[in-house]
Symmetry: C2
Subunit: 356 residues, 2 copies
């Protein structure tokens, strides 16, 4: 834990330079953790200031007409390698944006895809990636309605990058968002945590890690639709991608001004993911997911929502993992298996670069 | 001119390999010309097949609700250098997407921005680019409602890339698109051609070219609004970016199944741009613009539209440059200053890489 809020901490080591004093972009600025939040707060938000962006949710919500709200989102995808067990950059690009839109309670409808291709890329790789986007788009029931392609010279990209943006329609009369968690609410997760990050890491072959862990990438829009149909007391939905469950819950705690207390024993983790994390020295709570969501719901409806999720394809391993409290505001704590309580902080620097 | 439609032509030389037989991505696949069209037709359209994408316009048009049509568009921006006379990658990223949406007669409202940053980038550069996006967004009257940032290692990008996507509302009861040109229509351009491409090229300093030419980057949404207010006989609007006026008119001729005849003497070109093109061996009709639009309008309304455009900030150099004919379908011809007629073909390979 970092007691000096002005100094960044990277892998437990407090850096001598305040985040706002970095003069160069570092890998940690793309981590989904503290350094990235600092970049967003200092560089992006002040000039681009508007309510939809400032809200800090997975997608911006706008009122297109008095009778129609839209959720609009974007994600740049730079995952390395391009193909890994359970998915590829194309599936990731479609599901990532579908999920961000879904987390605001919107029905994702339209996607765009901007490709940056490196000179010399095998066209068969591009073909496979586009085919994969087709399958994911079909599963999610969305259309890719606009695209763009640019080519850059050798060594000015890494195979290919895809930036998707999406538009969803908010038909329902509810307000979801990171600021809606209330003391007394229950925290659920839709399945095991850390699968995606470890699958990608293993596919790199850099760490001598052999495993059959597959990424959990999936479009969650149908799961979201079903959950919102069964309960009108859902307050927050968010997908714990970069920075993992720990960073996502910290964001929610800060936005809502509440505390969150997790039970370590309740958090579903695949034994192979747990083992890989122990070998590599990672905390699975900080490892990225691409097909999971956090659900914060009233205590009344929590069991009903959990029971439904367990019957659905992408919710079979769902679990109640904690609760929302009024203190300490903005912090996440965890009751460990050993009976102690520890602070779960935001990811400080970079743990797994280019995981999505 | 290329008489064998299966063989590509690059700078006037017919390639021995059909476009569809390329196995690697080449710089020409990002040119806005024949090679890019081939990639789109062979790799992207067959799997992603839907009416909005297949239309081949600057933005996809969808019916979000029975009473609301949206225009949705995206562009990846990889311009090099990041700053050049008249603009920078931030201004380009905002205006490029604003203009694509405007060309369908939509009112651009919401933008997203996905950033891919290279490790080691000076944060002050990012700050300047975001500030520039702010100013362009303000001028266009749009909001950037969602963003994303990824960081890649040194030599896996080139400073920074920005992919923007945009959403516009189509309130008016007209159908604009590349397939709407009709024989008898008149072809206008909103100003001089080639400024952007030559300004970026000069900024690279690679060709020993010194010039004070500035890029024409501008948001054209207000110009579009005013033109559509004065005439309900506008059939096509399109911004001649990559591939220039020549490629844009060829696209329209193909989509509408009409011929287009240009008058060389009527095409507005700045003397400095003309001189630079002569020195470099470029045809200014193939050089990119970022603040110009082609207007195809009925003969009845052409003079009225021209007169209005000349009173507006981004239309002072507007001119009538040609007409739409029924023959030869799908081809663009030009009556030259010398009285001869020549075919204006689509750009074949790559003339100016990374111009936008």
């Amino acid at each position: 834990m970092n007691n000096n809020q002005n100094l960044p901490e990277i892998n437990g080591i407090v850096c001598p330079v305040p985040l706002s004093h970095h003069t160069k972009i570092l890998m940690g600025h793309g981590s989904g953790g503290k350094m990235m939040n600092d970049l967003i707060k200092n560089i992006f938000l002040p000039p681009l200031n508007n309510p939809a962006l400032n809200a800090g949710d997975d997608a911006g919500v706008v009122e297109a007409t008095p009778s129609l709200r839209l959720a609009i989102s974007t994600d740049a995808h730079v995952v390395s390698p391009l193909f890994f067990p359970g998915g590829d950059i194309g599936k990731l690009a479609v599901c990532g944006t579908v999920n961000d839109i879904s987390m605001l309670g919107a029905e994702p409808k339209y996607l765009t895809a901007g490709f940056i291709l490196e000179e010399g890329l095998d066209i068969t790789i591009l073909e496979k990636v586009v085919q994969s986007m087709k399958y994911s788009a079909e599963e999610a029931g969305i259309e890719i309605v606009a695209g763009d392609t640019k080519v850059v010279q050798k060594n000015k990209a890494d195979g290919l990058y895809i930036t998707t943006a999406g538009v969803g329609l908010i038909n329902i009369d509810i307000v979801l968002g990171g600021a809606q968690a209330k003391p007394g609410d229950v925290v659920l997760i839709s399945g095991t945590t850390g699968d995606h990050g470890i699958a990608v890491l293993a596919a790199r072959g850099e760490l001598g890690l052999e495993t059959d862990i597959e990424s959990d990438i999936a479009p969650l829009n149908h799961l979201v639709r079903d959950v919102l149909t069964i309960s009108n007391e859902i307050h927050v939905l968010r997908d714990p991608t970069r920075g993992g469950v720990a960073s996502t819950l910290n964001e929610i705690a800060a936005q809502s001004g509440v505390g969150i207390i997790l039970n370590e024993d309740s958090i579903p983790i695949k034994p192979a993911v747990q083992a890989a994390c122990e070998i590599l020295g990672f905390d699975p709570l900080y490892v990225a997911n691409e097909g999971k969501m956090i659900v914060i719901v009233s205590k009344n409806d929590a069991k009903k929502v959990l029971a439904l999720m367990k019957t659905l394809r992408y919710g079979v391993d769902a679990a109640i993992i904690g609760k929302v409290t009024d203190t300490p505001p903005g912090r996440v704590l965890m009751k460990t298996s050993l009976g102690s309580t520890r602070v779960i902080d935001v990811l400080a620097g970079e743990m797994l670069p280019r995981i999505c």
